[in-house]
């Protein structure tokens, strides 16, 4: 390609894949905004992860676990009935809900649990919102015989009870967090505080692409198995790359894992869907990329919901996993580079998508994932039947049955 004038797009195209830099910066986003106490552990983790990434034994062990313990590769399923109903693009579901523990979270926890052992740390802590990351952490720890403490907002303990019970069954200690909004954000705060005191022998398995460097990069890498598989499966199923990919975004780990391997494929349109909650008014949603602005939260610089004084705003989503005021820094980078489109979907639209997928395909989908499904069905209708749209079906909906009944005033 020859152009006379400098092409800003070409420069940003080239840059999009080469992140983060050594300081953990995705463009201006990311970095490390944490107390000095945690620096040594973050440095150690960065070094150990870099070594593990190059170590064929580590990769082989992780791949074996992903295959035989998790059940990967997860299928890419053609939702033919759904596609026909909508009359637009062919809809394909990347079935992360079929993984062991029922969501994509296990891809990351097994990787980080292996790193915990490599660093000779003897205890694991984790935060969780919907409980899927908590369950995946408890599972990885039970598998390797590591003690595990999971911090979970008291409100989330209430609305995701089945996952709390599962974690305890696998020997994890679930500590309800009563401070602040009693949701995911407060669970992250408590886990960080635990880590401040226990950092010398404890690894903190962060469950999303958030937090200080190297977490956003490392969690993205562990989750990228989703996008790598999906890419191959698209080529073998319909002979080309998909036209559009849609994923939900809370902290953004399933979306980052799905999008990352497609970032350089400029023909692929990618859409991230945040929690629109009850509407656009402050406090009614959890959509920092849609309504927020760049700021510092939980160790990195990224879009965030904050008031004009820098205090974190209250957010709302009916889904515990998306009920978070921040988002991973790489999403902020992709947004500003216009590589990924971000939009939001209200609680009621997501609930509608739950029913639609349940009745047309026989799949109960996690409330988080329903946000992606709702937006994807809208987009699919604007596309033609010879086009292909992939939804990252990040989690299954069994955990939400009781909460759904409560939201609808039905008996469970």
């Amino acid at each position: 390609m020859s152009t006379v004038t400098p092409n800003a797009n070409a420069a940003s195209e080239e840059a999009v894949r080469q992140v983060p830099d050594a300081q953990g910066r995705f463009g201006q986003f990311g970095g490390r905004y944490v107390p000095e106490t945690l620096t040594r552990a973050l440095e150690e983790l960065t070094l150990e992860y870099a070594k593990a990434k190059q170590d064929p034994d580590f990769q082989a062990e992780l791949n074996e676990l992903l295959h035989r313990f998790v059940g990967r590769p997860s299928p890419l399923y053609h939702a033919a009935r759904l596609s026909k109903q909508l009359g637009g693009a062919q809809i394909w579901l990347k079935r992360e809900d079929l993984n062991h523990t029922g969501a994509h979270k296990i891809n990351n926890t097994l990787g980080q649990a292996l790193l915990t052992l490599r660093m000779k740390k003897t205890r694991v802590i984790a935060e969780t919102g919907a409980g899927q990351h908590g369950v995946a952490s408890a599972t990885a720890c039970a598998h390797f015989g590591l003690p595990c403490v999971v911090y979970m907002g008291a409100e989330d303990v209430r609305r995701q009870k089945p996952n709390v019970f599962s974690m305890r069954l696998m020997g994890a200690e679930v500590r309800p967090v009563e401070s602040g909004s009693r949701t995911l954000r407060d669970a992250v705060n408590e886990a960080m505080r635990d880590w401040m005191s226990s950092v010398e022998h404890t690894h903190y398995i962060i469950g999303s692409v958030i937090g200080p460097h190297p977490f956003p990069m490392m969690v993205r890498d562990f989750q990228s198995v989703i996008g790598r598989e999906c890419r191959e499966q698209c080529l073998s199923s319909f002979g080309k790359l998909p036209d559009t990919i849609v994923a939900c975004v809370g902290g953004g780990s399933n979306a980052a894992g799905m999008f990352y391997p497609f970032v350089e494929d400029r023909s692929v349109r990618m859409v991230g869907v945040e929690a629109g909650g009850r509407g656009a008014a402050p406090g009614d949603h959890a959509s920092p990329l849609t309504y927020g602005s760049p700021g510092v939260l939980h160790g990195s610089y990224s879009y965030v919901m904050q008031d004009d004084d820098g205090q974190t705003s209250d957010v709302h989503s009916m889904s515990a996993g998306l009920d978070y005021p921040g988002v991973g820094p790489e999403h902020s980078y992709w947004k500003d580079a216009s590589r990924v489109e971000y939009t939001s979907c209200r609680d009621d639209e997501a609930l509608g998508a739950f029913d639609f997928l349940a009745r047309n395909e026989g799949i109960l989908t996690a409330l988080e994932t329903c946000h992606a499904v709702a937006k994807a069905t809208e987009i699919a209708k604007t596309m033609s039947p010879d086009q292909h749209l992939v939804i990252c079906l990040s989690g299954r909906g069994d955990k939400d049955a009781a909460e759904l009944a409560r939201l609808r005033g039905q008996e469970w």
Binding site: V34, E36, V296, L297, Y301
Partner: protein, 266 residues
């Protein structure tokens, strides 16, 4: 040269050490914060650290977290804090340093933060979530405006890194005594005195020790190796009672501070 630089020059010349209480601005309201600051000066504290309430303080234990929550529940804003401090400043001769999250500094704009804080009468800032790697730009803005940026060294900081932090810090160096969050401790970790001593031989910057310090014996033990001691949670806990009786809260904090000052003199 800031008021903090000046203070430590004077203290060193006379062989004295600083006691630096930490209080939370606006807990439970701003007029009370002013009363407490005036009382601390009257008791003989060399300077004070004023915590700017933040919604997500990950380095703080339950006592300081709760004080931030109380202040924010009353909707205290940074501009109001600066306004109140500016009013009180006229009756205060001791230097003040703000303890503030970078989340707040970023939202207000680093230059605006420094200039407003300085105009209100703060001589510097401690920014617990701004690591030395991330601080170059902010440190430069501080230097240009003769405003101290106090950086922290912790037990997990390797020696070469501690030296680098000491080079970048101004006013004083905040030596965190324990691996953990703020809060009173019965015992302080072994090796603390040696670690502070090692660093003190290698920097001219005054060193103040904080986190976990709450008892006269801590003060007696640590004051010989440092330039000052920071006491936070123990004082904030005394001041919690202000919701019921301001007089009792101030009396209880005064008693604690007096006992710590007496230990410093002995």
């Amino acid at each position: 040269m800031t008021a903090i630089d000046d203070l430590f020059t004077r203290l060193r010349a006379s062989g004295k050490k600083a006691l630096m209480p930490f209080i939370t601005a606006g807990d439970p309201n701003l007029p009370f914060t002013s009363k407490v600051l005036l009382r601390l000066q009257e008791l003989g504290c060399s300077m004070a650290e004023v915590g700017i309430p933040y919604s997500d303080p990950i380095a703080d234990g339950p006592v300081i977290q709760a004080s931030y929550t109380r202040a924010l529940a009353n909707k205290v804003k940074l501009d109001q804090i600066f306004h109140q401090i500016a009013e009180t400043r006229r009756s205060l001769s001791m230097p003040l340093v703000s303890m503030v999250s970078y989340a707040i500094i970023h939202r207000h704009g680093p230059t605006r933060y420094i200039e407003s804080a300085k105009a209100a009468g703060f001589s510097g800032a401690i920014v617990p979530d701004l690591l030395v790697e991330e601080s170059a730009q902010f440190a430069k803005l501080c230097r240009e405006r003769d405003f101290n940026l106090v950086q922290l060294v912790t037990p997990t900081t390797p020696q070469d890194r501690a030296l680098k932090i000491a080079e970048q810090s101004s006013g004083f160096l905040y030596f965190v005594s324990v691996t953990g969050i703020t809060g009173e401790r019965t015992q302080l970790p072994e090796g603390l005195i040696d670690r502070v001593g090692w660093l003190r031989e290698r920097t001219n910057l005054p060193i103040c020790i904080g986190f976990g310090i709450s008892k006269p014996e801590h003060v007696r033990l640590l004051s010989p190796v440092c330039d000052g001691l920071i006491v936070g949670s123990a004082i904030v806990r005394c001041l919690e009672k202000a919701c019921e009786s301001e007089a009792n809260a101030i009396a209880s904090a005064s008693e604690l501070v007096s006992s710590l000052l007496a230990a410093l003199e002995s």
